[in-house]
Each structure stands twice: as structure tokens, then as C-alpha cells.
Symmetry: C2
Subunit: 448 residues, 2 copies
């Protein structure tokens, strides 16, 4: 077995100031790309070797797309670029020492001149360890593959039992959280129930399949306009999804979900999309953290540090217009990443920094075939087929990589005309004894 | 956790004779498809929920294709068919009781009128448990995803060490077995080394990367013509692959491969493509087994049983032209499956059975970009670009599913023009504690 102590980060020393970016998501990627040619050494650290287009992750979970359609290898994105003095390292960051200006990893420390935290978010179970242990999260590609395997195995098992109670628990799906991930997953499952499952599983009565969407607030898609929330609720109900508003899941032991008020739902599958929290890194003073995020000024600088920045979902920038911070979507991260590249250049050349202003490009959610909602501006909302077309175009436009666009487009065209999605494969690898040995080391690079 | 005893195979009793097919590969699939409308109840059992196009598996391992490009869900293949009285069950068969005419699974027994063994092959380690534990096999989709993760992590780690011995062991790849799988994997790795890896990993000197191809016999691709073997060897050497003929790997502890004669190769990655054996099922008399396969007569009937058949790679049918059985490729399985469907109908309608004659359609192997070999007939061999075009067309033609053809074609076109393959993602899911609980049951359906 490889000994991690024999590895090192292996970044050469140069005279250029070193920018260390933790996280290759929307923020980190756009920052790194825009630092090209600006006379920095750029080190990008990520525990995954790809940049993911997370708005489409639910399609991997619901057998609509394969991972390569929504993810692009980070090295490929930078490799063709001839970006001198750029280094990617596949490694998890364990902590930061702000006094010594170093980040800690299991294979050693790395000194920085400028540090940018762009780690995004992880699932928030609000301290409920039982739910954390038994629920299916949906934040990363392995999560989506796990959930896909689970869904398909539930259907397979439902065809192999005559016990009505067991069958019902296999056919009950509880999705907790009425944000975009929850709504889109519920909608995709409802479309599967309608168009795919009855012909795949002729022995199973899919009128028994229940999809529950549980939301703690009084409307679905709380960040969107009330008009879009109302339309979404209507669409969800048209798809026979049981939407429960003002409702919480209190316990889930892997078999039974207990709701606030006492209702019990027997289910083998509870999807947790109820909340996220910043993926914090150890080593920051308590005063720089608020509600699980890192407080930043309008230049994305972390309080008291000239040379440490946080961008995207991990950053909490309070402004007059956004007193609770910007929405947790791709656009603030992209825009902050691009601006910070400019500001780092201004910083080293002695210019004044430019404060961040968020350009809200609106928000979108898809509920099913031909059903979507779009808040194009404060005053303009659209729904139905038009919003659905906008959703498709916008997602294709922002999708990473020429090849991914083609893969996704051809999948969607095929699906539109055949009602079939293509990837109903149970490919969750099993663990062989030999693999376990190899995985023990690899798993240190992986994380929840 | 689900208790397997609460599941049952759940196949209704009808007056039609029941054909139980074990395995949804080329043989089982073509048999089942052709039994439609022939007045049988057909039960297809497989431990995977998909039919795989295994000739392209190495492209999943070498980051050229995603699993959905080479696999199609079995239920999808039969679901659109309106095939009355067809049942698919995702379950592993543990044994057969020929006296009682039942097959055993962990969720109960199933009676059969006719039984067809179409289980194909599994890796043959020739009793070497140490190699079995440490090598990477390449027979199933999870194997290919495991190997892809391993290759990519080796390159990542090679960029993170200054220890020359460790780096060399990360950059040495040993492929054991000079059959089509070994040759095609070696060729794909060599193409990656040439076109992709230097720009992905600018800090690594890929002139140090060694690809070893070890073959026990005196030529590569032993089942093909000597002319094609010689051409293949030339192509492999042009791609700077170290081919060692008449050579065996004696031990591999996960770190060092010891070859016959004493040469030691330090490597983190040994791919085992050296041999296969029949994926036998318990319960058959010893006299029906020869060299790990089930002996069958020209009607694919197993000795002494009128109602038990074996088709494809698991079957050993000795004929004058093929005294050691047919080649272990798709065509004999496809042709035997189709013929057996006819013969089962003849059997129940009192007609004479038709003996099997193999129509050899030639054989093909690809070594790299523009390099392939084809034995079109005993007398006609082609190589180079022409064989490469034939290889592409034949594989596209036989690929399962309209959608898969499109996915693969668009991937290949993209790759041809950009030299890039698209899926260099490390997506091997990690195991969470909660998942382990769920996997404990699921894993019983899975197998090596």
C-alpha cells in the first residue's frame, strides 16, 4: 500500500506571488481561469478531479444523464490552455494556519501569498445524526450514483415481493427540502413513474408509488417569487406529488420517517435536500464565521486578513440589497471569481479594489416535461412551456465544455421524442477485498 | 435493513412451459428475444440489470466512454417489446437442482421446464490467490470504473512525488494477457500517453511511463491469424509498448510483479486479462464439465439432460472444425441463442432439432488511432487504417440500442478530431457509513 508520507504537493518556488485556491467549483474555476497572464503562480486544490455542473446533478440521480455529461476534468479545462505556472493538485485541505500563511493537507503544508476559499457547501442535517446516517444526500456525483442505484433497486425489489407493506415501503420516496434540488428530483421521479417505470416493471402497480416532497417553509422554491412558487406547487400537484408545506422530518431510521405532528411514512429511500452549510476549513477565528459561512467585505476579503478571500457559497457578503448574503446559486460565485481575479491584480499593482455588485440574471427551476418556472426579473415571471425552453437553453449555454453540451443535448433530444432516459444502470461498484486495500489510501482524498 | 427472506421471485404459474435463462449476455439476450411469440413463459435471471457490449469495456476503463455508452438496461430492451409472459429478475443464481428441476437463489427456488445456462465467463487466475487479490480484472463495468480511477489516481500521485522509485512504480503499467482485451487496453493507454497526459500533467515526464504487455504464448492475439499477430506486434512496438512474449507473471503483491525468469517490475497497477474460465453454477455432475465449461451436444443440450442447455462462452461444443470449442467471442453466443429459440419451439412441437453450425464472421482488434487488424476470412487479412474503419463500423453496427450508437459515435467523432477523450472522471463512489448498511443487502445481488 502506498504510504501518503511519500507524496508531497510538489509545487516549485518561483518569484511570482502564489495564489492558492481551495475548490474548483464555479467560483474557483472562474477565478483561476481569469488569473491567466496576470503574473501569479496559481495552485488549485480540490478533492475531486473534475468541475461539476451541479444544477444538473439530479439528472444523474434519476438516470437521465451519465456523470461525464455534467462534469469536466479540471486538468482538461486547464491543460489545453497553455497556462504557465498553474498547478492542480487532487488533495483534500484539512486546515489553514493564517499566522504562518500555510494550508495543511495530509501530504504536507503549502505556503501561500494569497489564499482563496471557494469550498462551497455541504449537506446540513441540522445536527440530526440519525438522518445523516440513513438519508441519501445529493451534493456530489457519487451521491447521485448511489441514489440512482437505490431507486432502481427499490423498483427491482418491489417486483420481487408479495408483501404489501414491504412493497409500499419500497415504492414510497420521501424528498426532504422544497428548493430546486428537491423540486427537480421529485419532478423527474414523477416523470419516470409516468413514462418509463410501467413498461420496465409490468408486474408492479405504479399507482401505489408515492412521492413526498417535504418543505419546512410555507411554499416551495422559497428563494423564487411567490408567483413562481404557486405555479410550481400547481405543477407538482398535477404530477401527483404529495407536497407537504410547513412540515419537518423529525426522525428517520432507514425504515420509517416520522414527520412533525406524528405522521409516519414507511420508506426505504429518504433524499436529503433540506439544507446546506458552508464547507468550512479549520483555522479561521470564530468571529469570521457567521451561520456557517465566512464573513467577507465587498472585495470578498475575510475580516482582518488582507490576503485571504472567500468567494461563492462559502462567503457571506452582507449588502443593503442582500442583507443575508447572495443566493446560493452559480452566478454570484462566477461573478465573484471573475472580479477577484481583477482585484488580485489591482492589489499587487497598488490599485484600489473594485467592490462586488451582483448582477441577478434571474432564477429558474424545472418540474417536469414542458413544466418550468422562471423569474426573469422582479416583475417578470414566466411558467410552463416557455419557461421550460428557457431552462433548457440557459442550462445548455452555461454547461461546461463543447463536448458536454453535445452529450447533454443529444440525450435530451432523445428523451423528448422517446420519453426514455438512457442510463438506468446499476453501476455502483462493489468492493472487492483487493480494492479495499487500495481504497484505504485513496479514501483520504475523498470526503463527504 | 431489508430482510432478503421477505423477497420472492414472484413468477406466476401459467400453463405454458417455463424457460429459465441464466445470464443476459449475447447468448441469453438473443435467445430470450427470439422466444417471443413462441408460447413459452420466459424468465431471465441476471445479477446485473443491463446487457453489456463487452468488446468496448476497455474504453470505459481508459476514460473513452461512460458506462451508458456500452450498456443497455435489460428491462428497457424488453419493456418496449410488449413481450407477454416475460419476466426479468435481478438476482444471482447460486445453484441448480437437476433432479427437482429448480434453480436456487438467495430469495428462493424457481422451478423450470427448460433451463438455459448462459453465464459466460469470469477471470481465471489459475489458482494464484495473491494475483487475484491485487490485480485489476476487466470483465465488468465496475471493474472498468475501478481501473479508470486507479489509472487517473496514479497520474495524480505521480505529479505529487519527488521520489523517483515511487514515481516509476506509479508510471509502470503491467497488462497481463495478449488477447484482444490486453492489446486494446495497452493501445488505448499508449494513445493517452501520447495525446492527453502530457498536457493534463505538465509536471510529469511521460517518457518515463512504461506499458508492459505480457503474453504466455509466442504471439499476441493467438486466436487470430499469424499475419494479424505479426502486424499487431509491429503496431504495439510503434506505440512504444513493451511486449514480452512467452512470458508469465508469477507473483504480484500489489507493489512488485515478478516475471518468470526473475525480472521484477515495480508497479501499482497490474491489469489481469490473461484468461477466463466458465462462470459455472453448482449442481452439475462432474462428467458434464470439461476445462471449466459445460459439455454440450450440437443442439447445445447438456449431456444426459433433454431439458438443460448451455450457450455461448460457458458451453463447450466440440466439432470437427472446432475440436476445442468455438472462439470466446460474441458471434457463437448470438448464433447459438437464436438457434436455441428455434430448437425449443421444435422440441415442444415434436420436430427434430437443428444442429448448430458456426458462421465465422471473422475477427477484429484495434491497437490505436488508425491501427487495427482484421481477419475477414482464412485467406484475407487487412491491417492499418482500412481495418480500423472496419472495426469502427462493425462495432457501431452491433452496438446495442439506437441511443448507444449515437452516444458512441459522437464520442468517437469528438475524439478523432480533438485527440481528447471525454470522461477522465474519478467517480468511484466512496462508502459512507449509512451506505454500508444499505449495501450489505444489495451486495448479495452483486458478485465478482
Amino acid at each position: 500500500m502506498l504510504d501518503p508520507t511519500t507524496l508531497t504537493l510538489n509545487i516549485p518556488h518561483t518569484t511570482k506571488p502564489r495564489v492558492v485556491i481551495i475548490g474548483g467549483g464555479f467560483g474557483g474555476l472562474n477565478l483561476a481561469k481569469n488569473l491567466k497572464g496576470k503574473d501569479f503562480q496559481v495552485v488549485l486544490l480540490d478533492r475531486q478531479n473534475y468541475h461539476g455542473f451541479w444544477p444538473l446533478l439530479y439528472q444523474v440521480a434519476t438516470a437521465g444523464l451519465e456523470p461525464d455529461a455534467i462534469a469536466e476534468p479540471l486538468r482538461k479545462m486547464f491543460g489545453s490552455d497553455k497556462f504557465e505556472d498553474f498547478y492542480f493538485r487532487l488533495v483534500k485541505v484539512n486546515g489553514v494556519n493564517t499566522a504562518e500563511k500555510t494550508v495543511h493537507t495530509i501530504i504536507g503544508d503549502l505556503a501561500y501569498d494569497y489564499l482563496v476559499i471557494a469550498t462551497g457547501t455541504k449537506s446540513n442535517y441540522f445536527g440530526n445524526e440519525q438522518i445523516k446516517k440513513n438519508a441519501f444526500p445529493l451534493k456530489q456525483i457519487p451521491h447521485a450514483l448511489n441514489l440512482r442505484s437505490q431507486l432502481l433497486q427499490c423498483f427491482e425489489q418491489a417486483s420481487m415481493t408479495q408483501d404489501p407493506v414491504l412493497q409500499q415501503s419500497l415504492l414510497n420516496f420521501v424528498i426532504v427540502g422544497g428548493g430546486p434540488t428537491g423540486v427537480e428530483t421529485a419532478g423527474a421521479l414523477a416523470e419516470m413513474r409516468k413514462h418509463i417505470l410501467p413498461s420496465d416493471y409490468p408486474g408492479v402497480d405504479f399507482s401505489k408509488m408515492n412521492i413526498y416532497l417535504i418543505e419546512g417553509m410555507d411554499r416551495v422554491l422559497p428563494p423564487m417569487s411567490p408567483q413562481s412558487s404557486a405555479k410550481t406547487l400547481k405543477y407538482l400537484q398535477e404530477l401527483s406529488i404529495h407536497v407537504k408545506l410547513n412540515m419537518l422530518v423529525e426522525t428517520y431510521d432507514g425504515q420509517v420517517a416520522k414527520l412533525k405532528g406524528g405522521q409516519l411514512i414507511k420508506t426505504q429511500t429518504l433524499v436529503w435536500a433540506a439544507g446546506v452549510q458552508g464547507a468550512l476549513i479549520e483555522g479561521f477565528p470564530t468571529k469570521t464565521i457567521e451561520r456557517g459561512r465566512i464573513l467577507v467585505n465587498p472585495y470578498n476579503q475575510v475580516m482582518d486578513f488582507d490576503n485571504i478571500f472567500a468567494i461563492g457559497d462559502i462567503a457571506l457578503m452582507k449588502t443593503e440589497k442582500w442583507p443575508n448574503g447572495h443566493p446560493g446559486v452559480a452566478q454570484p460565485a462566477i461573478q465573484q471569481g471573475k472580479l477577484l481575479a481583477k482585484n488580485l491584480h489591482r492589489l499587487v499593482t497598488g490599485q484600489n479594489l473594485e467592490p462586488f455588485t451582483y448582477h441577478d440574471k434571474g432564477s429558474l427551476a424545472i418540474i417536469g416535461r414542458n413544466r418550468a418556472v422562471a423569474d426573469l426579473s422582479k416583475k417578470m415571471q414566466v411558467g410552463g412551456f416557455l419557461a421550460w425552453v428557457i431552462w433548457l437553453l440557459v442550462h445548455l449555454m452555461y454547461l461546461i465544455g463543447f463536448r458536454n453540451k453535445l452529450v447533454v443535448l443529444s440525450n435530451w433530444v432523445y428523451k423528448f421524442f422517446t420519453y426514455q432516459s438512457g442510463t438506468r444502470l446499476i453501476i455502483r461498484p462493489f468492493v472487492r477485498k483487493g480494492d479495499l486495500v487500495k481504497r484505504r489510501f485513496l479514501s483520504k482524498y475523498e470526503t463527504e
